[in-house]
């Protein structure tokens, strides 16, 4: 059986190009890239045709930062439900953070997570193992054994590694196994009671603040540790103008550091909290408009390498409560693409540049496959309708949880088809009819 994707504009994010090519897929791999019109399907129904005319075909999107809550909090999300949401958002691979219950700090949890992903059989799942046992920040996990079990990186995401000594040793030790280190930057002692960005809105609402320095102190620390150890550190969910400036300077000095941001940090600011909307509560918190501008500049200039969702499902038990008691985090898998495309329309990035931050860049940081459309490579592809306009409604949400500040918001652009290893894992009824 051959799949023929015809008429689409193919984006190559590594070369920054787009051109019209047909794609022939067989046995899960990209067999041929052809000039349009050069392929004549043989009779006999051996070819499945996907009409991508008017659409863009990109390497399968990769989200290097999600929380799928399994094991432990399956009422919020399971690996199966999260994977379905990922596919519907155009993602063919996700990296799952270790703050489950139990924490992914051992081979058995890593293997369990991978087994669940195999059973779900939707998208690729890359486990991120904890840096410290139980994410307690006290002693290192068995990086070697975890890597053998299938972990692609280490991180204590959700909790910072408070001890600089432990973080230093983690980075040094990770080097031996060539495991990427992802840092959640938060000085807990500076924001112990904080529930939103500290500024004029926290003062108006009477909510405890999380100053920008809470993040920046740790960004600077981890930059200095990357310099000390000579091994890369990846900064998760950058949200402040200051962090962007420090990372820009570090990159300028040749310090091995990479960074990601999440779509809400370039789409919303702290005014979204007005009315005590717990779906505007996340860590790091939504910042000020100057920070939003700085994040966009950081994306545009390549200071920020990756857009990742920090998809964090929570149920009404955690969200339909008083603001200060609510859990941090929002879902993001199905809104990341249209929100990123908004930046393309705004001129912050061109389309291949934006896709790079959602595909080849995270693949490079995590040392995983994907991020390319090349003959012979596995066929992980996303077909995008750039112009589809719709309201993001609760009915569209595939995740088990509905904690999104974007419900009811008009979106433009959507993944109409997601393919993993040549197999269609998501197909929207919004794809060209009759195909």
């Amino acid at each position: 059986m051959i799949t023929w994707i015809k008429g689409g504009d193919i984006i190559d994010p590594r070369l920054g190009t787009q051109k019209k090519l047909d794609i022939l897929i067989s046995k899960g791999r990209i067999e041929k890239l052809l000039t349009p019109g050069s392929f004549q399907p043989p009779g006999g129904g051996e070819v499945k045709t996907v009409d991508a005319s008017g659409m863009f075909v990109t390497p399968g999107l990769i989200d290097m930062h999600v929380h799928f809550r399994e094991p432990g909090e399956e009422y919020k999300e399971t690996i199966a439900s999260g994977s379905t949401a990922a596919a519907a958002g155009g993602f063919t691979a996700v990296a799952c953070m270790p703050n489950t219950n139990p924490v992914n700090d051992s081979r058995s949890v890593t293997e369990f997570v991978l087994e669940r992903a195999r059973k779900a059989n939707v998208v690729r799942l890359y486990p991120v193992a904890a840096i410290s046992k139980g994410q307690k920040g006290e002693s290192l996990t068995e990086f070697g054994d975890l890597k053998r079990a299938g972990a692609v990186a280490v991180s204590d995401d959700g909790r910072p590694v408070t001890s600089s000594e432990l973080m230093r040793r983690a980075i040094e030790y990770a080097r031996f196994f060539q495991l990427p280190v992802i840092s959640h930057c938060q000085d807990l002692s500076l924001s112990s009671e904080g529930v939103m960005h500290e500024g004029s809105i926290s003062t108006r609402l009477g909510l405890s603040g999380i100053p920008a320095a809470t993040e920046e102190i740790m960004v600077v620390r981890d930059i200095l540790l990357a310099k000390l150890t000579g091994y890369p550190v990846h900064i998760a969910h950058v949200s402040t103008e200051g962090s962007v400036a420090f990372i820009r300077r570090a990159k300028g000095e040749g310090i091995p550091v990479t960074a990601e941001t999440a779509p809400h940090y370039f789409s919303l600011d702290h005014t979204a909290v007005i009315g005590y909307d717990t779906n505007a509560k996340m860590y790091p918190p939504l910042r000020e408009s100057k920070d939003v501008d700085a994040i966009k500049r950081g994306l545009s200039e390549g200071v920020i390498d990756v857009i990742a969702t920090d998809h964090a499902p929570h149920s009404p038990l955690e969200k339909d409560v008083e603001f200060d008691k609510a859990s941090f985090g929002i879902i993001g898998l199905q809104t990341a693409l249209p929100l990123t495309l908004d930046l393309v329309r705004e001129g912050v990035m061109d389309l291949p540049g934006a896709i790079a931050k959602l595909s080849c860049n995270p693949a490079a940081i995590l040392n995983t496959k994907g991020g390319v459309i090349e003959e012979g490579k596995e066929a992980d592809l996303t077909i995008i309708d750039l112009n589809k306009e719709y309201v993001f409604t609760e009915e569209r949400i595939k995740s088990k949880s509905h904690n999104s500040p974007f419900i009811g918001v008009k979106m433009k652009g959507i993944a109409v088809l997601t393919m993993v290893k040549g197999r269609i894992v998501w197909e929207s009824n919004e794809l060209n009819p009759g195909s």
Binding site: S202, T203, R204, L205, G206, S208, P211, D324
Partner: protein
């Protein structure tokens, strides 16, 4: 005829100048009831009011209860240790259970900022914010305006200084908004550790040193230092606080001769205010308490929809 169109009182921001004047005028009319021999009017007969206090409170709770009773409403008071909160019930469940009993007004005191807003979203009954976290305490600000208007004859153009822990004070949160709305000039003063970030965005100026801050002011409002904040991080000791930020006779020498001194209570005598100043000729602290009952009568009456 001006109409008052609110079901809830969640904060000062929702009120117009006209609304506030109407509340103060209505309170004026109700003040008389409290001085009668038989202190009761039948106005809210058959209405039920729930005082729901998740935090300890003596005077606000008593004031609302007194106000409701003087208007002949039925009242029920619940506090945190009696409520099912201690049994692990969530606020939304508590709200739904209360709603099932069909009260007209719920007066809520809660340690979480925004809790009354949350409750109002889920309830048919009207909600009065009787203090939420570090956010607002609107009935306190209204009784403060009422007291100032009675003593000074006006609010517009007056110069007011609020001294103390501005950052953690819901009283300051409401007073700043209410005074600004009514045309007063507001200065806040206190140790920089207790001045909230970007407080200027509320329209105030900051003068940390009380000696300078109270010069030329018509009204001095002192805030209570919450003794539970004595962790040594915001200020080193009560002794030092009282030496540099407490109001005493010496400091008062720099104030206007017709200044009035206010305090939302309860007072920590000897900490933010000395005995002699609290009981002295400039103090209107007990007037605030009497006026509080009248203001809360006015609020209950207007919110329930009296004509």
């Amino acid at each position: 005829m001006y109409t008052f169109n609110h079901k809830n009182l969640l904060g000062i921001d929702q009120l117009s100048v006209g609304d506030i004047n109407m509340i103060l005028d209505t309170a004026d009319a109700f003040l008389e009831i409290s001085s009668r021999d038989i202190k009761k009017a039948p106005t809210l007969r058959g209405k039920s009011i729930v005082n729901f206090f998740y935090e300890p409170s003596a005077r606000t709770k008593a004031s609302f209860e007194m106000a409701a009773k003087r208007l002949s409403a039925d009242t029920l008071s619940l506090s945190a240790n009696e409520s099912s909160m201690v049994k692990g019930e969530t606020l939304i469940d508590t709200a739904q259970n209360l709603q099932a009993m069909n009260p007209d007004i719920i007066v809520l005191r809660h340690p979480s900022s925004g809790a009354p807003h949350f409750l109002a979203k889920h309830l048919e009954a009207g909600v009065i914010n009787a203090g939420d976290g570090m956010h607002e305490h609107p009935s306190q600000a209204l009784l403060d305006l009422f007291t100032i208007r009675k003593k000074k004859g006006r609010i517009k153009g007056l110069r007011v200084v609020i001294i103390g822990d501005i950052a953690h004070s819901r009283v300051a949160g409401s007073d700043i908004r209410a005074l600004k709305k009514m045309g007063a000039e507001v200065t806040v003063s206190g140790p920089p550790t207790m001045i909230p970030t970007d407080v200027e965005s509320l329209g105030t100026q900051v003068v940390s040193d009380p000696t300078r801050a109270l010069k030329g002011k018509d009204v001095i409002m002192m805030l209570r230092i919450q003794l539970e904040r004595q962790s040594g991080i915001l200020f080193p000791s009560l002794r030092e606080y009282s030496n540099f930020f407490g109001l005493n006779k010496e400091l008062l020498k720099g104030a206007k001769k017709d200044v009035i001194i206010m305090h939302p209570g309860p007072i920590n005598r000897g900490v933010e205010i000395t005995w002699d100043v609290a009981d002295g000729p400039f103090s209107v602290i007990l007037d605030q308490v009497s006026n509080g009952v009248a203001i809360r009568m006015a609020l209950l009456y207007l919110l329930i929809g009296g004509e």
